[in-house]
Amino acid sequence: MNAALAPPPSAPTPSETPTHYLNASYGFRSWLLTLDHKRIALLYLASITLFFFIGGFYAVLVRLELVTPAGDLMSAENYNTAFTLHGVVMIFFFLIPSIPAVLGNFLIPIMIGARDLAFPKLNLLSWYIYMVGGMVAAYALFTGGVDTGWTLYAPYSSTYSNSNVTATAIAAFITGFSSILTGLNFVVTIHKMRAPGLTWFRLPLFVWAHYATSVIQVLGTPVLAITLVLLILERSFGFGFFDPARGGDPVLFQHLFWFYSHPAVYIMILPSMGVISELVTCFSRKKVFGYGFIAMSSVAIAVLGFLVWGHHMFVSGQSVYAGMVFSILSFMVGIPSAIKVFNWTATMYKGSISYSTPMIYAFGFIGLFTIGGLTGLFLANLGLDIHLHDTYFVVAHFHYIMVGGAVMGYLGGIHYWWPKMTGRLYPEGWARFSALVLFVGFNLTFFPQFLLGYMGMPRRYHAYPEEFQVLNVMSSAGASILGVGYLIPMIYLFWSMRYGRLAPENPWGAKGLEWTTPSPPTTFNFDETPVVTEEAYEYVKEEKH
């Protein structure tokens, strides 16, 4: 590991530094009013990192409280606020924007040979909307927080909770528009701005995954907005949408909420799958196995994702026949997901496999996503979900998908494209080490929760019966390792921005238009519009230098 922190190579003298998007202009204005998709991506990177550590802080509080069975570290009220804010911040302010707004923003125009997104001003606006939503969330957080769970179930949220439900709902409402605008921008850009010769089936799979994600963002997020408006109207003005005493129906809230929030899971995981497709091909140096199947499985997941929301409601009193339909459709989502995993694995067959850090993350992703996906089958299963619903099994499952899947993919992608984004290489030894720490910490944190769930421990419990303690202590111990695993990359990535070795144009020997631009790229990415003459991932022998 020491080699990684070896003294930095001497910094280049200004005279030999070419102009790129980072040094093209300086000053706050040049960043806060930028229309460059790459700079906006970095604005997002900084803001979501901040929110990630806020959300992480609340996770630490939750895990600390759960070390002992009694609710002794903090009051029930504070605990409920902590897990709610952990969920709200991580989902709305980190996971949903994470890969699309940072990596997607940075890479989609370059990957398709364009100078920028279709609507650069809209792109900047979406960041400002996100920040305004974030400010409202921070306001809600500093004025007492919110204690409804991120799911905001009525009538607890609409009538009974004394916390800042309205402010939180407004924050999520506002942030939703940033998601819609980003999705809209991507859809238009991918349709209209591809370089000559870049046909749909020559697109990198990262772009396909973002296309599918964008469709969900554009179609799904407005439903969340409507739901939140109804909630605010009921809470603030006494409308009777969800309160049965006023003629409403509490189950209606769940239908509306999950109609967005289940597809939202795919907003989080699809971009990550797109990243993994890039990593596996690059570090196997081989054409992806079954390109068309991986591309279409993203679309299939996006479409099916809209038809499975009722699997969150098997015990909520919805009709048993509705339950059956939602169950079978939920199982169906397993097929495109499995197709991806099998194709990634097959891509490695007879490849030339490098153990670079991004590939370590890809290995981690495939392993954890496989477990997360398979345990999803337990929950799609009517007979089993009755027992498992609202237990720690569910908590473990969705953390395997969202942290094991989405965050692993995000970090893998950040490492892979870091040289392109910053023009610097990160210390490889530290990076591999921290990927390993993350993997171990993650499993130790969340695997015991599957066992806790089947044992019957309900989620969102401030205090719990003593027999659950051993597994909870394991989980909390794992969380402390996981926390270290997140801090190490924070440190060395920051460090590398100044002291890292200068990155060449294409440090991985990867295919794709982004690797034909300088590291970091110039403001308009390409001096002249590239012409694409081959399929994606055409690794061929004569390419070698």
Binding site: K286, F293, T375, G383, V540
Partner: protein, 316 residues
């Protein structure tokens, strides 16, 4: 303080072993797939590790046969899971005939239980072993969820409606009762104990527990106190329909539709009388929304259910 490492909660109901078997099936399938995928990845990663920096392997485009295989095989396995799971679900969904009825009311943050014979409990439920028990559940405030892990049963308790669940305990003992749907501040304190007792012990408990009036007696008292009898007379239609034998019957409504007079219908007709008016009557009954607790409603319904014949005790 090592208390062992149990992986299964106690299995103490007729359905528990069926659920566990289904769980084991999914665990085995998951392990087989995980081991297969991880094994392949490890093997490929070692076998095809990059030897020289400039090596470029032969491209492989894909294989239709493989794609079809690894779509169809998982599909078939998923359909087995779906079929099996749905069968377990349906078997566990319908309560058997003649199950003992117990009424549950959830409120922040306690469970209140009423036995038809009149015994009332808070956060404790005493039931005999080997007899099916059906729970009819309501909530005074937010959504709760009645969960007994040892029985593998759970059901949300939703404002504005009755939900039901059933179980048949198979093992004498003490088991956890949890609220599984987050319901506010003391959610994790909304727990209790289910005592499954041998029949003689249960009889002794029944005899020893304070009982007061039965549910239908309490319902009748409420019926009188709220003045229901002034319109719902026993022998002839008054301003409201006769309630004798109405429970379980099919009622013709003013708009020509028909509805079965079950607990939900009776509850709705008390709280929102104008919603489904019986043919031949006008909407003139006042709402009782906010005037009767969920427990009181259950008692009145128990009373209406008990009106099998026209022997209603006349009021004094």
């Amino acid at each position: 303080m090592w208390t062992g490492f149990p992986l299964f909660p106690e299995a103490a109901s007729t359905i528990a072993s069926g659920v566990d078997l289904l769980y084991l099936f999914l665990v085995v399938v998951s392990v087989v797939f995980s081991v297969g995928i991880f094994g392949a990845i490890f093997y490929f990663a070692l076998r095809y590790q990059r030897k020289t920096q400039d090596e470029v392997p032969e491209p492989i485009h894909g294989s239709m046969i493989l794609e079809i295989t690894w779509s169809v095989v998982p599909f078939l396995i998923l359909m087995v899971m779906f079929g099996w799971g749905t069968a377990v679900f349906f078997r566990n969904f319908h309560p058997p005939e003649g199950a003992t009825e117990i009424f549950v009311t959830g409120k922040q943050w306690m469970w209140k239980l009423q036995h038809p014979e009149g015994q009332r409990e808070i956060n404790e439920l005493h039931v005999p072993v080997g007899r099916a028990v059906k729970l009819t559940m309501a909530t005074e405030d937010v959504i709760h969820s009645f969960y007994i892990p040892a029985f593998r049963v759970k059901k949300d308790v939703v404002p504005g409606m009755y939900t039901t669940m059933w179980f048949e305990p198979t093992k004498v003992g003490k088991y956890h009762l949890f609220c599984a749907e987050y319901c506010g501040n003391q959610h994790s304190g909304m727990i209790g104990t289910v005592y499954v007792m041998a029949p003689p012990d249960y009889e002794a408990w029944l005899a020893g527990a304070p009982r007061g009036e039965t549910m239908s007696q309490a319902g009748e008292r409420l019926f009188q106190r709220l003045g229901c009898h002034t319109c719902h007379a026993a022998d002839r239609p008054g301003r409201g329909p006769v309630l004798e034998k109405v429970f379980g019957s099919t009622v013709l409504l003013a708009d020509g539709k028909k509805v079965v007079a079950d607990e939900m219908y009776l509850r709705e007709s008390i709280l929102r009388p104008g919603a489904k008016v019986v043919a031949g009557f006008k909407t003139q009954m006042p709402t009782f929304q906010g005037q009767i607790s969920e427990e009181g409603l259950m008692q009145i319904i128990a009373y209406i259910k008990s009106l099998e014949s026209k022997e209603r005790t006349t009021t004094q």
